[in-house]
C-alpha cells in the first residue's frame, strides 16, 4: 500500500464540506482515506486492516472475487455500513456514527448502486430533485434546472417526466448517476454499477462514467468491467478475502501483476 501512503498530504479540505456547486480548488487532502479499517459481520472478518487513499481527482477501480469485501469497503466510505475499528476520512473529516455529521458528509459523496435504487413512486425529475430540495433547500425551479442539466449530461433529458419502471435498466442507472451528480458531490462511489444490466446496456452506463472520469471527478468504483478499469482508472486495487492484495496502475496491473492471487484472478476474468 505504499502507493496509497504517498498520496496522503496535509493540506486542508474546503472549510465547509457541505458547500455546493462551488469550484473545486487544487486541494491536496485525500478525498477518501481509510486507515487500519476492520469490519466484522458477526464472526466473519469482512475487511482486514484496509489502508486506502484516494487522492482528489483519483479514479480508483476496486476489483476482486465475490465475497472479497469490495462492496463492504465502498459502503463503509459513506457510512452505510458501520465498521468496528480503524478510521475513514472524507476530505479530512473523520466518519463517526453521529447522524448529523454523516448526513453532512453524504452530501458530498454520491453513490450509485448495483440495483439502481431509484424511488419507484417518483418521476425521474422528482428522483433528482428530492435531495436538492429537502437537503440543500433549493426552490422547485432551481432544483428542476439543476436536475435537467445532469439528465442532459447522462443523455436522457427527454425521460424526466417518466417513472423508473418505464425505463430500461441502462436508463435507470443513468438516472441514478444523474441523481447523485445533482448534489454536486466531490466523490462518486460506484458499487458494481453495471452488474445487473443486460449486456447491451453496459456500454451506455460505462460511457457516462468515462465522461465523468475525463471531467476530473474523484471516483471509487467497484466493478468487474476490466475494460473500464483499463480506460478510465488511474489505479486498480485488487481485493481478496477482505484484504487489499495489490494496488497498481492499470498498465502494471494487467500486464505485470506482482501477486500470484491477482494473476489467478485476471486469468479467470480476461478470457
Amino acid at each position: 500500500m505504499s502507493d496509497g501512503q504517498s498520496m496522503r498530504q496535509a493540506a486542508s479540505w474546503p472549510a465547509e464540506i457541505g458547500q455546493q456547486h462551488g469550484a473545486r480548488g487544487p486541494d491536496q487532502t485525500a478525498a477518501v482515506e481509510a486507515a487500519a479499517l476492520n469490519k466484522w459481520f458477526g464472526s466473519f472478518h469482512a475487511l482486514k486492516d484496509i489502508n486506502l487513499a484516494v487522492p482528489q481527482g483519483g479514479r480508483i477501480v476496486i476489483c476482486g472475487p465475490s465475497g472479497s469485501g469490495k462492496s463492504t469497503l465502498i459502503r463503509c466510505v459513506n457510512g452505510l455500513e458501520p465498521f468496528q475499528s480503524g478510521t475513514v476520512r472524507i476530505g479530512g473529516v473523520d466518519l463517526t456514527r453521529d447522524q448529523k455529521q454523516l448526513q453532512k458528509i453524504r452530501r458530498s459523496v454520491g453513490m450509485v448502486f448495483q440495483q439502481f435504487n431509484l424511488f419507484p413512486h417518483l418521476t425521474v425529475m422528482a428522483n433528482c430533485t428530492l435531495a436538492l430540495r429537502r437537503v440543500l433547500g433549493k426552490s422547485r425551479t432551481e432544483a428542476a434546472d439543476i436536475a435537467a442539466h445532469y439528465l442532459e449530461r447522462v443523455r436522457i433529458p427527454e425521460q424526466a417526466h417518466k417513472y423508473p419502471a418505464q425505463l430500461s435498466g441502462g436508463q435507470q442507472q443513468r438516472v441514478a448517476i444523474a441523481r447523485a451528480l445533482c448534489m454536486n458531490p466531490k466523490i462518486m462511489l460506484f458499487d458494481e454499477p453495471t452488474s445487473s444490466l443486460d449486456p447491451e446496456m453496459v456500454k451506455e452506463v460505462l460511457d457516462v462514467m468515462i465522461d465523468l472520469a475525463a471531467d476530473g471527478m474523484t471516483m471509487l468504483c467497484v466493478t468487474h468491467e476490466m475494460g473500464f478499469a483499463r480506460e478510465a482508472a488511474d489505479q486498480v486495487v485488487f481485493m481478496d478475502q477482505g484484504s487489499i492484495v495489490e494496488t497498481a496502475s492499470p498498465a502494471t496491473f494487467f500486464a505485470a501483476p506482482s501477486q500470484e492471487r491477482t494473476r489467478l484472478f485476471l486469468d479467470k476474468m480476461l478470457r
Binding site: 413512486h121 428530492l130 429537502r134
Partner: protein, 219 residues
C-alpha cells in the same frame, strides 16, 4: 314462503334510519384500527422489551374473538369503575380487534420495501424523518392500500356485532322488525343488500386510491 316486496320496501326507511350509526362506527373504527395497528407495528420494530411485548400483544389481539373484546369492554371494565357508552365500546372494541390484523398488514407493507431504498435516500444526505416521509411511507402506502381496504370491508361487516351491546345498527334494527312481524326474509335481505352496496363502494374507492398511488406504472 313468499317474499313480500312491498313489505321489504316498507322496512327500508327503518333500516336506513340507522345507517349513519353503522357508517360512523365503521369509519371511526377504521381510523382507530389503522392508527393503533400502525403504532403497534412501529413499537414492535423498536425491538428489545417493547418489541417483544408488542409482538405478544398483537398475537393476543388476533387470537381473541371480537365478541370477547366487546363483552369485556362493556361488562368487565365497569367492575373496575370504567363505564363507557355502548357506542364508544363498539368503536374501541372493533379498533382493538382489527388493529392486530392491520399491524400485520403494515409489517408486510414495510418489509416489502427493498433495503436499497432507505440506503439510496440516506446516501443522498436525507435525514431520518425525510427518508421515512418522502421515500418509505409513500411506498408503504401503495403496498398496503389493497389489504387495508379489505380489512376496512371486514370492519364494516363486523358492525352487526355491536347489536350485543345494544348499539342501534342495521342488523339489529332488522331483527327488531323481524321479531315484531315474524317475517325474517325481507328485513334481512334488505340489510344484506345495503351491506353489499356499502362494501362495493369501499372496494371501488380503494381501487381508485390504489391506482392513483401506483401512478401510470403497474409496478
Amino acid at each position: 314462503m313468499n317474499f313480500d316486496f312491498a313489505f321489504a320496501a316498507s322496512t327500508v326507511p327503518t333500516i336506513l334510519g340507522v345507517i349513519g350509526t353503522t357508517i360512523g362506527v365503521a369509519v371511526l373504527s377504521c381510523a382507530g384500527a389503522s392508527i393503533l395497528g400502525f403504532s403497534f407495528e412501529i413499537a414492535r420494530r423498536a425491538g428489545s422489551v417493547p418489541g417483544y411485548l408488542m409482538r405478544f400483544a398483537i398475537d393476543f389481539i388476533r387470537s381473541t374473538p371480537v365478541l370477547a373484546w366487546l363483552y369485556f369492554l362493556y361488562f368487565v371494565l365497569p367492575h373496575w369503575g370504567v363505564t363507557l357508552p355502548a357506542l364508544v365500546v363498539g368503536i374501541l372494541g372493533l379498533s382493538i380487534y382489527f388493529s392486530g390484523y392491520l399491524a400485520e398488514v403494515f409489517k408486510a407493507g414495510i418489509d416489502a420495501i427493498p433495503k436499497g431504498q432507505a440506503e439510496a435516500a440516506k446516501a443522498l444526505g436525507l435525514n431520518r424523518i425525510d427518508v421515512v416521509s418522502f421515500v418509505l411511507a409513500p411506498q408503504m402506502l401503495r403496498n398496503v392500500a389493497a389489504p387495508v381496504g379489505n380489512h376496512f370491508v371486514s370492519i364494516l361487516k363486523a358492525t352487526p356485532y355491536l347489536a350485543v351491546i345494544a348499539v342501534p345498527e342495521m342488523l339489529g334494527s332488522a331483527l327488531d322488525i323481524a321479531s315484531n312481524t315474524y317475517r325474517y326474509a325481507e328485513p334481512l335481505t334488505v340489510v344484506g343488500i345495503v351491506f353489499l352496496v356499502l362494501a362495493l363502494a369501499i372496494a371501488q374507492g380503494v381501487n381508485m386510491l390504489e391506482r392513483k398511488l401506483l401512478g401510470p406504472t403497474n409496478r
